[in-house]
Symmetry: C2
Subunit: 373 residues, 2 copies
């Protein structure tokens, strides 16, 4: 039934390097997926995404359901055709947006009713609806509807977890297309026993991959690492493991060390629109005055178009002058930083040097800020 | 003294095809120059500009003087280095912005005093200041300070014209760099005798090119055409002729027929940011509902990245979802339309078919609107 293969090509400690095969090409893991919320990675063309090394893109079911609507995307020929991305695409279930963005949601065992954040219109998503919508959108990887509860409320989380598990079973039944890989989602907040229960249950079902939801939603980094450590033994070895919504450099390194394969996050593009760039040594806000006539690139060791072409002085000028090009150039850089980080992590795993890579990374990250040199 | 050569390669009626040689490469005319007001063509990278066929870019002295300041640009190595455009660049004198954008300006025979539209700070531009600023910015083509008066006030225009002529003489004296081509500017509103007087005077000075200012500022198209007809016999044959601030398709065709070589305008990029695309048959606003699932490109005969890649449905979605990518993709298209129009006009002049080209153009333009098909 599950036609998608994940080749585990190397292991180093818990770290993994592999290839997940989709109908739009292979995904080499570990991989970071840029987020194209509304079927566009903000401020970037597909040509620019391709050039910076992007392979897997994420788009949001909740947003595309509301605008332009699943049927419009289907009529144009699906998401790949619509947004002109010929590589693999993943759509989330909309669950996270419903529980974080939509107004007045009401959950019951059958599904969730909510009002659009755009116009207040009421909608209902059942697990079956979410599969149907994602089949109409046509991504390569699709996700089950889950409930992302607040991480510390044990009693509520336990009830939500049961719902999420029933929804997972129903999603598998509802699925019709065989060219899409369906991933299950593990929940359970910060509670090790609930997480383990969820991991065992989701791993027992016939999913093509396993995602970890409900992390990076307010818990501490230590709590996140602990949950990843707890989960690792119960995650299937022969399926890709996807840590949803995680995308800072340090979180990615710590999660790859703990056996995660796939990441996505709006952080790099959102930070770019807020004038902040990521580097291996930390972040810097390019709006700061010292950059006014700084002839250096953001990072002289970075191979991205922005660093190969422009000075910090020019980027700061674009920011101060409120020019759109700033968002484009900073997004190219930040995404390239994450994409190349996962590529280097992959190389380190093949080389059997993941621990050394992580140690080197931790030593430099945030210790020395380029903005102060 | 004037080291810049303009090779007139073909003439057809009053239409001209030529090459203007600069230190950053040749400019094949007729040419349309995209406007990079603040040292960036809004929403586009230099790579995208190059790909769409851009050769000559324009940047605004007034804006760059205020932000980031001439000395910052100079310190980085000049405008080419700053904005990373290795082709030819033209800077205007700031005159137009002072008379249209700045607050509380006061003109006297020595120069013009104005307050910044950004922070109200007071500044004074003399013709000599404007040459100095443009020498610091380092464009290939620089312009004299002129006064762009309202087109119908004869008495005022006549006084402004005398000032503009004195400023032109002073600018030539002030100029120091020999790797920049200085253009004079003809004014005179809609009054044929004043225009002729100005053309004869500016043509008599040792400029590398001649610009026509004060058109496309509120007068009718017939009035503009009439002034171009009046001017043509008095424009030097061996220098490029630049019609400032003109950039609609029909205006370009009518002006090339009347002997103009160089154009610039914010219209294509500004229209793009307002969801409107240019085509040979007229304009269309892509926000309109009928485009919601329109699988066609903007123009199936257009060779630009946008038309070669995306549907109207996707572009409309980006607009409705308020995504920045809309401005990028529509700007690429609109600029390509103008650049390719001037290229075809050049070909038509070489082929001796400029009248036929113009006639064909007029027949299709605005007669049939793609938005209604």
């Amino acid at each position: 039934m599950n036609e998608f293969t994940f080749n585990l090509e190397a292991q180093d400690g818990s770290g993994r390097a592999g290839t997940f095969h989709t109908h739009h090409g292979p995904i080499r893991t570990p991989v970071f997926a840029p987020v194209g919320t509304q079927a566009t990675v903000k401020a970037l063309t597909p040509a620019q995404l391709s050039e910076l090394g992007g392979t897997l893109l994420l788009a949001n079911t909740y947003h595309l359901f509301l605008r332009p609507g699943e049927n419009v995307v289907k009529e144009i020929g699906g998401l790949h055709q619509f947004m002109q991305w010929n590589g693999p695409i993943l759509t989330d279930s909309g669950g996270f947006q419903i529980f974080s963005l939509a107004d007045r949601r009401k959950v019951d065992s059958g599904g969730v009713t909510f009002k659009s954040h755009l116009d207040g219109s009421e909608h209902r998503f059942t697990p079956e609806d979410v599969i149907r919508i994602q089949e109409n959108l046509g991504a390569d990887i699709i996700m089950v509807l889950d409930e992302c509860a607040k991480p510390y409320e044990r009693e509520y989380i336990e009830a939500a977890l049961e719902r999420t598990h029933r929804w997972a079973e129903r999603s598998l039944v509802a699925k019709k297309r065989d060219d899409q890989a369906l991933f299950g989602i593990i929940q359970g907040g910060i509670f090790p026993d609930l997480r383990t229960r969820s991991a065992k249950f989701i791993a027992s079902l016939d999913f093509s991959g396993v995602a970890i939801g409900g992390l990076s939603v307010g818990e501490t980094k230590d709590e996140m690492h602990k949950i990843l450590d707890v989960l690792e033994p119960d995650l299937p070895e022969d399926k890709p493991r996807y840590l949803m919504g995680v995308g800072s450099l340090d979180d990615i390194v710590e999660a790859v060390v703990r056996g995660i394969d796939i990441f996505d996050c709006v952080l790099p593009t959102r930070m770019a629109r807020n004038n902040t760039v990521m580097t291996r040594t930390g972040r810097m806000n390019l709006r700061n005055a010292p950059f006014i006539s700084d002839k250096r690139p953001i990072d002289s060791s970075c191979a991205c178009y922005t660093c190969q072409t422009f000075t910090r002085a020019y980027l700061r000028h674009l920011i101060v002058a409120q020019e759109m090009l700033a968002a484009t150039l900073l997004s190219i850089h930040n995404l390239h930083v994450l994409v190349s980080l996962t590529e280097e992590l992959r190389d380190a795993i093949f080389a059997g040097k993941i621990d050394q890579f992580a140690e080197d990374f931790r030593k430099h990250y945030q210790k020395h800020r380029p903005s102060e040199t």
